[in-house]
Symmetry: C2
DNA sequence: CGCAGAATTCAACGGCCAATGAGTTCGGCT
DNA sequence: AGCCGAACTCATTGGCCGTTGAATTCTGCG
């Protein structure tokens, strides 16, 4: 275990981003409370004190790590532009594609895992869901009880995530995108537009 | 804070059950890792060492606390006896009724919350789901891909729990049983018996 | 070149936790 | 009545964690 000398490194170290990436992965794997500053530091190959130097507190690190590499509201808006026909399918497909793109450093999973047993994270998740997804969807569909419909969709979407990532149900993990879209798309479409 | 004297209490104390009840509530509220032996002991109005006296380790306490006050396999079996017609509705209704009956000391919520960031609990949850619910359901419905269908149902059921208990979506929490059964019943029925 | 400040490490503090072991009081069996 | 074991508490230990402050080395600007 070669200890490194103290002091600044030469060149562009990109350490800050390395820490953020490591933090996102740890939070996504274990949630807020289980993730230790020390484990993030180790994963980023850095001293724990440096994490504090950059982000102040663990809460600060979490807040910084939860930023998406894209704007989720835009993604939702683009889906809504195409009208309400086939919206259910588009929602599922977008979700799955986005997940594949994010890989192991997935803020949504991190938020979801952290929300359990850490109320501030639960509130962040609720606010993200409400502001970026539920509100736009609820105003876009022109039917009765729009908010309840949006939350029904959210419950199925969250269920997909938890079933695959937390409970790790095998056939759901193994299923390909087409199968999942065919299964879940009509469910969401029904929640959005059918009679309840 | 009146310190109690050491030594055995007179009469039937029922302390063991008090500890188990307190543990179930704490685990259901905060999950395994966030729950401390000390908080359980405090909630049961008892010294922390007594919890160890009864259950050995925290894992032991958790295992004991996760026992249901009824046999879930029986409940599932009774639902399956009535055939596959309306099975989706019966599943949702049973789930909701069972939840209302269990109140704040709910092993399913405890298991779900603990599964995040504590792999042994995740495995317990997976084994419970598989053995007590998914396997019986998958063998009872006589269709193609029974296992995938069962897991699709599980994903929606888990989604209901997480959306209401963890994310706390307001309209889902406020909705009455009839509304939820009308919304979710057909979804589950479709997962179980319709073409995919 | 000189210097302010950023990047980085080290060592340490106080806090909380699970677990342990020894000691105290009581119930129940003989 | 006597005693063994169960119920119960107290004090302590060792470990991990978040956070802090000082020390060291490098960069970039004037």
């Amino acid at each position: 275990m070669a200890k490194r000398a103290a002091g600044r490194r030469p060149g562009d170290s990109g350490t800050r981003e390395a820490i953020l990436g490591a933090a996102r992965e740890r939070f996504a794997e274990q949630g807020f409370r289980e993730t230790t500053m020390r484990s993030v530091a180790t994963a980023a190959d850095v001293d724990p004190a440096l994490v504090h130097h950059y982000f102040g507190t663990k809460e600060g690190l979490f807040a910084s790590a939860m930023a998406f590499p894209f704007n989720p509201a835009d993604v939702v808006a683009r889906m809504l532009e195409q009208g309400v026909d086939g919206l259910g399918e588009r929602l599922v497909r977008t979700l799955l594609v986005t997940f594949a793109r994010l890989g192991p450093a997935n803020p949504m999973i991190a938020l979801l895992r952290s929300a359990v047993g850490h109320p501030p994270a639960a509130q962040m998740l609720r606010e993200f869901l409400t502001g970026a997804v539920l509100d736009p969807v609820a105003t876009a569909i022109e039917v009765d009880r729009p908010r309840l419909r949006a939350e029904l969709c959210a419950s199925q979407v969250v269920g997909i995530l938890v079933a695959r990532e937390v409970v790790e149900l095998p056939e759901l993990r193994a299923a390909d995108t087409a199968t999942l879209v065919a299964a879940y798309g009509p469910t969401l479409q029904r929640y959005l537009t059918a009679d309840l």
